[in-house]
């Protein structure tokens, strides 16, 4: 029996979610100990005696039995979730209640409860994302650190601090209350969006773990779609956006770890199945009148994903979507992308004019791709010397090896010999 990839990691999230519901959020650490114990047993027994027929069920059963032990032993010593307490006090009700809580659908609800609980308003956004990654995706401290390209010590401090806030919130988030649900939903979507982008923009050969963040974000967003209150048009749009972008990731960073711009991506590497799924989700997101930034971004991703080539891309559509996005979220980066799209639609000259007209373009001064965009249009305009200058600034601002290599290549393509080809 072979194990599926990341089985332990995914089961860890499910197990912690149900155990925390059972023990109460203030006993999060106890839940984590029980999970760790179940994994230690699996590691030893499976190593020596082979992997059981249904590994996930085995792990869950190990966690359940251990939880029953803990509850019996500490019945009087601990307080649990208030509404469960009375069931857990008596042996007559203990086993059946615990059995029911370990059902598949109950666990899905528990994961959602945990997801909403992690997005506690007292926590900064990036702490919410780290917490989700740690608790719901089973990432260890060093794996979270690798995913965020930060130090072990930084994460080692932040996660326990965030967990303390969670534990002090006394109760898990109540996903049955429609009003609270919609209030918290946008924070949850935002955290999932950040989780996805952290992976998407950071994916590289050097940090392979980061592409996995995209998968985790997609997986958690699907959980949202399975809940009647979570399956809103904006959740569908978010999910569509993730699928349509993830589908193109294999071409964005190729096997040799090279970053490719949209110009020279090998479109045959795009994941057509995922594009199809993204388009279906996008269609479902159109129900209702709500228009969020996720809708617009998914719309842009859909135009790119269905275009046969850079030239045959519907740039009119993309510019108009960026115009809409500017009214919802007018950030310098959105303005930059809009200017690039205008340049694609109307020619390099117009692109340059738009780039220079970005209202607070000084906020982009440290962003390497702003200078790269100037370089790209200068080059298209036949101004190789100007282009080289811009690419050189971009190179100085590059944030990692992959970007440095990319801008280095752009500089060499400005030389007369490269252009003659």
């Amino acid at each position: 029996m072979e194990l599926t990839d990341h089985l332990f990691r995914h089961e860890a999230g499910r197990m912690v979610a149900v155990l925390t519901r059972l023990f109460g959020v203030h006993n999060l650490a106890l839940a984590e100990d029980v999970v760790q114990d179940a994994f230690c047993r699996a590691l030893e027994v499976w190593s020596f005696r082979g992997v059981p027929e249904n590994p996930a069920a085995w792990l869950m059963a190990a966690a359940k039995n251990r939880a029953l032990d803990v509850l019996r032993r500490e019945r009087t010593a601990r307080t649990h979730e208030p509404e469960l307490n009375r069931f857990l006090q008596s042996e007559w009700t203990l086993a059946p209640v615990v059995e029911e809580m370990f059902g598949d659908n109950a666990i899905k609800d528990d994961q959602l409860r945990m997801m909403f609980s992690c997005c506690h308003p007292r926590l900064p956004e990036d702490a919410q994302v780290m917490l989700m990654l740690n608790i719901l995706c089973g990432f260890g401290i060093d794996e979270v650190a690798a995913a965020f390209v930060t130090t072990y010590t930084a994460v080692e401090k932040r996660i326990p601090r965030a967990k303390k806030v969670l534990a002090e919130s006394k109760r898990l988030f109540d996903t049955e209350a429609p009003e609270d649900f919609s209030d918290r939903l946008s924070a949850v979507q935002r955290a999932l969006y950040l989780l996805f982008n952290e992976g998407y923009h950071g994916a590289s050969a050097e940090f392979a773990v980061r592409a996995e963040l995209c998968d985790e974000a997609i997986r958690l967003t699907k959980l949202l779609l399975e809940h009647p209150l979570g399956a809103t048009p904006s959740s569908y749009a978010l999910s569509a956006l993730m699928c349509l972008n993830k589908a193109r990731l294999p071409a964005r960073v190729d096997a040799s770890g090279r970053l490719n711009s949209l110009f020279d991506q090998d479109r045959s590497l795009w994941d057509q199945r995922l594009i199809g799924e993204g388009l279906q989700l996008l269609e479902r997101s159109a129900e209702g009148s709500e228009l969020t930034e996720y809708h617009v971004e998914a719309g842009i991703a859909a135009v790119h994903a269905t275009a046969p080539s850079m030239q045959a891309t519907n740039w009119h559509e993309i510019v108009s979507l960026y115009d809409t996005l500017m009214t919802i979220r007018p950030t310098p980066i959105v303005a930059l992308n809009r200017a690039i799209a205008v340049g694609q639609r109307d020619g390099a000259e117009c692109g340059l004019r738009e780039l220079r007209a970005i209202p607070d373009s000084e906020r982009l001064a440290k962003y390497p791709f702003y200078h790269a965009a100037l370089g790209e249009f200068e080059l298209q305009n036949g101004q190789a010397e100007n282009a080289t200058g811009h690419f050189e600034i971009a190179l100085k601002l590059a944030r990692n090896q992959m970007e440095r290599k990319f801008f280095g290549n752009r500089i060499s393509s400005c030389s007369p010999t490269a252009r003659a080809q």
Partner: protein
Amino acid sequence: MSDFTFLYRGRDTNTSPEQMQKTMEKWRAWFKQLGENGHLKDPGHPLENAGKVVKGKQKSVTDGPFAEAKDVVGGFTLIQARDLEQAVELSKNCPILGVGGSVEVRPIQVINL
């Protein structure tokens, strides 16, 4: 061919789920290789950390073994090898060495009459 036991000490419990899954895959690959090369007599078993120690004529029973975690035998395997030297060579690929543990290689006594 002679029989040997491998006694494993030291377990690494403080890692992430992903790391534990990887460690387990290593153990399984190791056992598989031993089996394919005809060295695995019995994969043996992992042992619980705590049990009882029964001692002396009084047959006194205490909780045990209460050694340091790294010194407790965590499992055993029965191995077939040409000689002690080959058994030692085989043990060098054991994944427990990668997490700071040890393998004790002990020939099983045989009396040839």
